[in-house]
């Protein structure tokens, strides 16, 4: 009998054959292991993402939600509250407002990837994680240098751990909850610091912001900041690992982008489609919905398998081919609709700059291991380690 268990290591490693069976045979599938419905076709996912009145995020959007988080973050709230919260943060992440970050990001990239001169073999995560934490700190205005509250590596390690889940218990384990609490604690110290002496940075603005004359709920400030740190570090880092994995696996694509760095933009879009790290998110039904001969009940949870929609042959011809010239329109690599990723512009900018600089130092590389250890997560997918060697 067909099963789809988003907690199983087999799904962490390669969900795509399962997605294909879901799309073809079980487009509206009840997973007993996940205790939710799974939507896997492009059209169904877009429709659900658009209909936030029916597919609510207010009970949490992570497949395995963190305690106390639902309802207090952008991703886990519905309009109109969501829109007002997003309105407070959106400006900082708009492309035109990121221009000032371009040079600092490039400096970080140069500094980080320069460590690879003369190095024949390395774990890409070591460099990508240094890069993502520094970029995030610059973008959010987290205390750095003499002002730093913690070691950068600790931020990275905890942000990565908090999104993981336990394959055996199908829940967050104590180590994941501890990491979540660590990031919350860190966020709360930063918020207090910026409230005491506000600066012209995102967290200062957000911590002092009001919606319709009301200060934001303390839990909203804390958990939204926590989520920005998590998303900034884990999602950007995870995507960079997937992009490096693709370029290390598909030699012609890598050679093309090294020769013509302007092709990186298209290669990034194709990677977002092909195997982005944000694979699955969750919604909860506010009313009964009949779909593909099934009736999903009000109150049921529903998984939107973005990673499957991106491989739907009904939308993208020859979907299992990694083709950097495809220019995939409307892909779900950043989700879509009201909850589409807040960080699209900074992610695209940072990844492009990172790989421009990485390729100056290491233009030709390949994977060392055929089999990789994949992160245990019901929501995200990326390798824990990516050993690369110069060719």
């Amino acid at each position: 009998m067909f099963t789809f268990d988003p907690y199983s290591p087999a799904i962490d490693a390669d969900p795509f054959p399962y997605y294909k069976r879901l799309r073809d045979e079980f487009p509206c599938f009840w997973s007993p292991e996940a205790q939710m419905w799974v939507l896997s076709r492009y059209v169904d996912i877009v429709s659900a993402g658009q209909d936030w009145q029916t597919y609510s995020s207010a009970s949490g959007n992570l497949m395995t939600e963190l305690p106390g988080r639902a309802g207090a973050t952008l991703g886990s709230s519905d309009p109109p509250r969501h829109d007002r919260l997003r309105g407070l943060i959106q400006h900082a992440f708009m492309k035109r407002n990121l221009m000032a970050l371009e040079e600092p990001i490039r400096d970080v990239a140069k500094q980080v990837f320069a460590q690879l001169w003369g190095v024949g073999q390395f774990d890409f995560k070591d460099v990508s994680s240094q890069f993502t934490v520094k970029v995030l700190m610059a973008a959010l205005g987290l205390p750095m240098g003499d002002e730093a509250l913690v070691d950068e590596k600790e931020v990275r390690d905890n942000a990565v751990l908090m999104v993981q889940s336990d394959a055996r218990t199908r829940a967050k384990g104590p180590e994941h909850i501890a990491a979540y609490n660590w990031v919350q604690e860190y966020a709360s110290k930063v918020i207090a610091m910026r409230r005491a002496e506000p600066r012209n940075d995102l967290i200062s603005h957000f911590a002092m912001a009001e919606i319709d004359g009301d200060r934001l709920d303390e839990r909203e400030v804390l958990l939204t900041t926590t989520t920005l740190i998590m998303a900034g570090v884990e999602s950007l880092g995870g995507f960079m690992m997937m992009f490096a994995y693709n370029l290390a696996s598909f030699h012609e694509s890598r050679q093309a982008v090294v020769e013509k760095p302007e092709l990186l933009v298209d290669a990034i879009e194709e990677s977002l489609r092909y195997n982005t790290s944000a694979q699955r998110f969750r919604r909860r039904l506010m009313k009964d919905v009949a779909l593909h001969g099934q009736t999903m009940k009000a109150g049921d949870f529903v998984c939107l398998a973005y990673g499957s929609g991106n491989r739907d042959e009904r939308q993208y011809p020859n979907p299992d081919l990694y083709d950097i010239h495809r220019k995939p329109r409307g892909h779900l690599g950043f989700g879509g609709g009201v909850h589409a990723c807040l960080g699209t512009a900074i992610a695209r900018l940072a990844v492009k700059i990172a790989f421009e600089e990485f390729h100056k130092v290491v233009p030709d590389y390949q994977r060392i291991a055929d089999q990789l250890a994949w992160m245990p997560s019901s929501t995200f997918r990326s390798p824990l380690v990516l050993e690369l060697a110069r060719i």
């Binding site: 429709s47 658009q50 829109d83 309105g87 329109r329 409307g330 879509g336 609709g337 589409a340 512009a345």
Partner: protein
């Protein structure tokens, strides 16, 4: 399903049936229409799905709200009285036959 016509910057008209509830941006993405970007993914956060709605039918659409009005200030092409963001217009049966023009630039 309502039928929507997109006029690309080249002047070419492309007509498609759109699923009700989908935004005009999603319809444009689905059918790979030129002249529209939607960089933020449809969250009303970038102003790159700017379109001009046929003036005679503008009144049939729900008026733009705060966030959309704010974002319309940032569009790359000329802002006109019939400027809207395609991510904020949902296809409904009543909008059948609507025509939208897409500008030369979005970014």
């Amino acid at each position: 399903m309502p039928q929507i016509t997109y006029i690309e910057p080249s002047g070419e008209a492309k007509t498609f049936q759109l699923q009700e509830g989908w935004s005009l941006l999603q319809g444009a993405s689905l059918h790979a229409i030129d002249g529209i970007v939607g960089e933020c993914g449809g969250a009303c956060g970038c102003g790159t799905c700017h379109c001009y709605v046929e003036a005679a039918r503008l009144h049939e659409l729900p008026a733009p709200e705060g966030k959309e009005l704010e974002m319309l200030d940032f569009v790359a092409a000329e802002r006109r009285p019939n400027s809207r963001l395609a991510c904020q217009i949902k296809a409904t049966a009543e909008l059948d036959g609507l025509v939208v023009h897409l500008p030369e630039v979005q970014d």
